[in-house]
Amino acid sequence: MKPQSTEEAVKYYKHLSLFWTDLIHLMSSKPQALTSTGPMRAFATNSKKVATELIEINESLLGFNKFQTEYYKQFAETWSEAQKKVNLKYPEIPQDVEQIEVFKRIWIDIFDNDFTELFDSKRFGENYGKLVSKELDLTKHWNNITNVILQSVNLPSKEEIDEVYKELHILKKRITKLEIESKKKKMVERNEK
């Protein structure tokens, strides 16, 4: 069945890529295990993960491009509107230093006002939020690929390091709490004496 929309096309090709990635991985896993030796063994075993991430990156990239196009479109529209306002307010080409200064002031004020209005709008805020979100999706995929490489050389992944940080944070808090309690206890003992 032929995909009817862009969304369907993305889904179709994603499925197609994942199907073949999975199947090739299954078919090649035994010969791969037999032939991979040395430090690259882990990487070869996990290479399917890299392929999967690369497929998903395409989907995120599509969304990123969409919001990025809208981002620059909003910039271009605002620029064009602001320039029209400047032309209306100051239609002549400035001829001397004083006129240039006046023109520059008008240009900056109008452009700053119009762009501030844009940055303040719901339309901009929503699109920018989605753009950053897609950018973070791309970063996440890249993190996942890096984790495969890190694991192949027996280095901890981001998640594993995060776990250590979290544990350290909890321990620090517990120590601080114990220190405060011990201080209070000592003060009470001192007062009782």
Binding site: Q95, W107, D120, G129, L136, Y165, T176
Partner: protein, 354 residues
């Protein structure tokens, strides 16, 4: 025959002069990195993790009894309050006879991503307050919070009102929904969970983006044109480079703290509604009953007056003062106006209560 489109010779003169200034600039002024800030003399009185408590040396024979602790913002560095002697917030207060401490939050690294409001309020801020109380043998101190530092300080005084005698909130971030700045618009639409989950701490690059949307043409272009035009004006150039150096040095913000700040202040606006919790403890603004002085800048495009002023009306204090100044966010703390008007008024208010 005279052409109608003849270029004014003054324009050529201006262009040549501007080019000359650009070429000569490196010989006339230092690079921002080469500038050494003339900070008011101080000791590091206490260090907790990466935070430092600075204690400023007295510049008067007699000092007022109640010490003052300044909780600086989470964005950029505390140095804006002590950038140069003639515009220094700290030096002015020390010269007025106050015993001043400053909390420098330091530079969080990846391993600090789990630090949250609780760590900052009940850990670092409370640790500093307890230390000062011990050192000065007083039961209460005066506390000043600036910008996001005032958000932390406000939450702190609701939980520890017994330790604070007077509270000064300078451009506090309080009511996120009323904030009319472009920063609040970006914050309201941010997927902060995904950001912290993916990148950990709030990266400085994001803050630089926020700065770039504030008057992009005046601040991004014209400011530098003015700099080169005034390259011979030592005072102007010196001030410009110090502020630029400060602007370009912002530390990351710990992920969990950033998440709670964006959600509780800008997205859900819990603080002003008395619905905020820090480590299961209720932040109730009605518990604030000590004398409070709220300072607001009318032209503040980082924290709008509408965002700061609700604090004045939300607290239970009977002794409360609200002052509005015709300046901006930085102008309120590091300008001639702050030296001539803001600080003398603050000093008078504080002296009557210290």
């Amino acid at each position: 025959m005279k052409s109608e489109n003849a270029i004014d010779p003054k324009i050529i003169e201006e262009i040549i002069k501007f080019n000359k200034n650009v070429i000569e600039a490196p010989e006339l002024v230092p690079a921002p990195d080469e500038i050494v800030l003339e900070e008011t003399p101080h000791d590091v009185a206490l260090e907790i993790d990466k935070t430092r408590l600075l204690h400023y040396k007295p510049l008067t024979d007699k000092q007022h009894k109640t010490p003052l602790l300044i909780a600086y913002a989470l964005i950029n560095r505390y140095s804006i309050l002590d950038l140069q002697p003639d515009k220094s917030w700290v030096r002015n207060l020390v010269q007025q006879g106050f015993d001043v401490y400053m909390l420098d939050w330091g530079t969080p690294t990846a391993m600090d991503k789990y630090l949250d409001f609780d760590d900052y309020i009940n850990g670092y801020l409370d640790g500093a307050v307890e230390f000062i109380k011990n050192e000065s043998s007083v039961e209460k101190i005066s506390l000043q919070g600036y910008c996001t530092g005032a958000t932390l300080a406000t939450a702190y005084i609701t939980l520890h009102p017994e330790s604070v005698k007077n509270y000064i909130a300078t451009a506090p971030v309080i009511d996120g929904w009323r904030d009319t700045t472009v920063i609040s618009n970006l914050a309201k639409h941010m997927d902060v969970d995904k950001m912290v989950d993916t990148v950990g701490n709030m990266p400085p690059e994001f803050m630089y983006y926020c700065f770039s949307v504030l008057k992009p043409f005046e601040q991004g272009l014209e400011k530098y044109v003015k700099f080169f035009k005034n390259i011979d004006n030592k005072k102007f150039v010196d001030n410009f480079l110090r502020v630029e150096k400060w602007l370009s040095d912002t530390p990351p913000i710990p992920g969990e703290l950033f998440k709670q700040w964006i959600k509780d202040i800008y997205q859900d606006n819990l603080l002003i509604q008395n619905k905020m919790y820090v480590n299961n403890r209720h932040i109730d603004l009605k518990k604030i009953n000590m004398p409070i002085f709220t300072q607001v800048a009318v032209g503040d495009h980082l924290v709008s007056p509408e965002c700061s002023m609700p604090l004045h009306y939300a607290v239970a204090s009977e002794d409360k003062t609200l002052r509005m100044y015709p300046t901006g966010h930085v102008g309120m703390i590091a300008s001639s106006l702050s030296q001539k008007k803001v600080l003398p008024e603050l000093g008078k208010w504080l002296l009557e209560r210290s």
